[in-house]
């Protein structure tokens, strides 16, 4: 079989230009696969990080009714027996922070422009231990007391305000009464999580308590852990054992992202399918041409006693090598693209802007090395090309030897 392999390799470079173009098309296909996969892998990893660091923490504890609907925030559904819960969390040496989450309209005091937001009443000191929001503040500090407010960069642009301006927070109190108060814009942040940037503003927990007339109650406790969230949730659930109190992991809070991430698995299969189509079209075209041009040669080889298996193997080697070279080219191109994205990123802010698409990542897209996918792409490219080449070769072998010999000129 060594000589069949040798012949396949010689045939590979028979039409250098065509081989190069086929390898290039396969390479581009594999590169596209590596590019998208790397970006999705990065988006996945970054989203989980950005969810936990800025939005969901590892988990949140709250009233079961409070969690019933994600967009309906019943501030009156507070945490009963919060001292007991805090004692359990302290006992487990977990970092946690109390919060008051509410819905409110933010109004520009001068223009009167008004937009709906989620307001967060926070305790600056413990918030820093659970979240990394303080590291994303580019002006001012986390609000600690009084009527001071911190908003995201997007909100600054939306409301056309600057630090020192006053914003009106208009909301409903715990008892359902309408309330509004003026807050001085004291801090600005920009996180890599666009949902937080666009939808949240922050005030101190005391200010929230006054504004919503909470009477010292809170409706959420955010918890940070490095342990397995599901396992810890079960432990906490068992230990807290208060009717109407629920522990929600970050996965449960970010169902929109989880759905998207699950869909990504289907997306990867689609991409593999797309690359398969590119390979199929490229290889089938090239091998069809090769078989067509070598019909007489195939006839001659058969006449001389080469078996159908050896002839097919000859095409498999040729095509497989083409798939391998295309795959290697794709790996090189894909690696360059991946390296560039990791190093410099791809700023898509002009295209995606503030659009929310489930991933908690900024508009500067990056990538991630995925050696598993790279090896898979190379193997996939080689095997697909090998398998596909058998079809034109088999078709040629269906013709009689004398018929194929006539294609080369004349025999007998």
């Amino acid at each position: 079989m060594k000589f069949v392999f040798k012949l396949g390799m010689k045939n590979l470079f028979r039409y250098k230009e065509r081989t190069f173009l086929t390898c290039l098309s396969l390479g581009v296909g594999v590169c596209v696969l590596i590019f998208f996969n790397g970006m999705l892998e990065w988006a996945d990893e970054a989203s989980i990080r950005n969810l936990k660091k800025y939005e969901t923490a590892s988990m949140k504890i709250g009233n079961t009714e409070f969690f019933k609907e994600d967009n309906y925030i019943p501030v009156d559904e507070v945490i009963e027996e919060k001292e007991k819960i805090e004692k359990i969390l302290n006992g487990k040496e977990l970092e946690y922070t109390p919060e008051i989450k509410f819905k409110a309209n933010l109004i520009n005091e001068i223009t009167g422009d008004s937009y709906p937001f989620f307001g967060m009443g926070i305790v600056a000191e413990s918030h820093k231990k659970v979240y990394d929001l303080d590291e994303m503040i580019y002006e001012g500090n986390l609000p600690e007391k009084g009527n001071e407010i911190m908003i995201g960069k997007n909100t600054v642009e939306l409301l056309n305000v600057k630090v020192g301006d006053f914003l009106i927070i208009e909301t409903d109190t715990k008892d359902g009464a309408h309330n509004a108060d003026a807050f001085k814009l004291a801090a600005l942040f920009e996180t890599p999580n666009p949902e937080v940037n666009k939808n949240f503003f922050y005030i101190s927990i005391d200010a929230a308590n006054n504004l919503l007339d909470m009477g010292g109650d809170i409706n959420l406790i955010s918890v940070k852990t490095e342990q397995n969230e599901e396992k810890l949730k079960q432990e906490l659930k068992k230990e807290i054992d208060i009717e109407g109190i629920t522990v929600r992991t970050w996965q449960e809070q970010a169902q929109d992202y989880i759905d998207l991430s699950q869909g990504k698995k289907g997306g990867s299969s689609m991409m593999l399918m797309m690359v398969f189509i590119i390979i199929t079209v490229g290889i089938v075209n090239t091998m069809n041409m090769a078989v067509f041009e070598r019909t007489g040669e195939i006839g001659m080889m058969r006449a001389m006693g080469m078996t159908n298996r050896e002839i097919i193997l000859n095409f498999i080697y040729e095509s497989g090598a083409m798939g391998f070279l295309g795959g290697v080219l794709g790996l090189v191109l894909g690696s360059i693209v991946t390296w560039y994205l990791i190093r410099y990123g791809l700023d898509m802010s002009n295209y995606v802007g503030d659009i929310s698409y489930g991933y908690r990542v900024s508009a500067v897209f990056r990538s991630k090395w995925d050696p598993g996918m790279m090896i898979t792409a190379l193997i996939f490219s080689t095997i697909s090309a090998s398998v596909i080449s058998t079809f034109p070769a088999r078709r040629a072998l269906k013709r009689s030897i004398s018929e194929t010999l006539k294609s080369a000129g004349k025999f007998g």
Binding site: L7, N11, M301, A303, S400, G409
Partner: protein, 223 residues
Amino acid sequence: MELIKTKNLSKIYISGETQTKALSEVSLVIENGEFSVITGPSGSGKTTLFNLIGALDSPTSGTITFDGDDLSKLNRKERTLFRREKIGFVFQTFNLIPVLTAFENVAFPLNLLGISEKEIKEKVYNLLEKVGLKGMEERKPAALSGGQQQRVAVARALIKEPVLVLADEPTANLDSGTGGEIMKLMRKLNKEDEITFLFATHDPMVMEYSSRRIKLRDGKIQE
């Protein structure tokens, strides 16, 4: 001693509803060591007879025996192995593999037979020298003249020491001088190695070299 014997050999080609009788009741004996020519106008059945003798095709009826073995009873794989071991082909258009050198083209049938590299080297160099191509072993077909290419093709047909060489119009694409040289070469090998040669041709020069002429017309022998 008879090498090939055909008895009432017929071949009908069917295309849709059209039936073409290419060969009709041909009975023929070719002896070992013959240097024979099959002649006849286009469409006389030369190709068909060559294809059947070379086990490239199966007859519609009749029998064809080769060294006593009935070729019509062989399956596809057995026919392939039969050709691999016993038949050498020389084609009108040389049919060399363009990506292989003269050496590699000649070595091709030996590679199929699984002969060792060392033995292949020895045999191929010897035969290329015998056919006058010493020093041209590494040249690819494109770097050889028509006559040189046909010499490579003859060497390729003979390298495995076949029982029979089937040569179709071996001189058709060559000038008369080169054609004559090729015929002399084959005649020499026929005499020296006692290999049976069977030609299909219109070329009077080839007929001159032959020891026997078999005329075909409308699928029947006129001899």
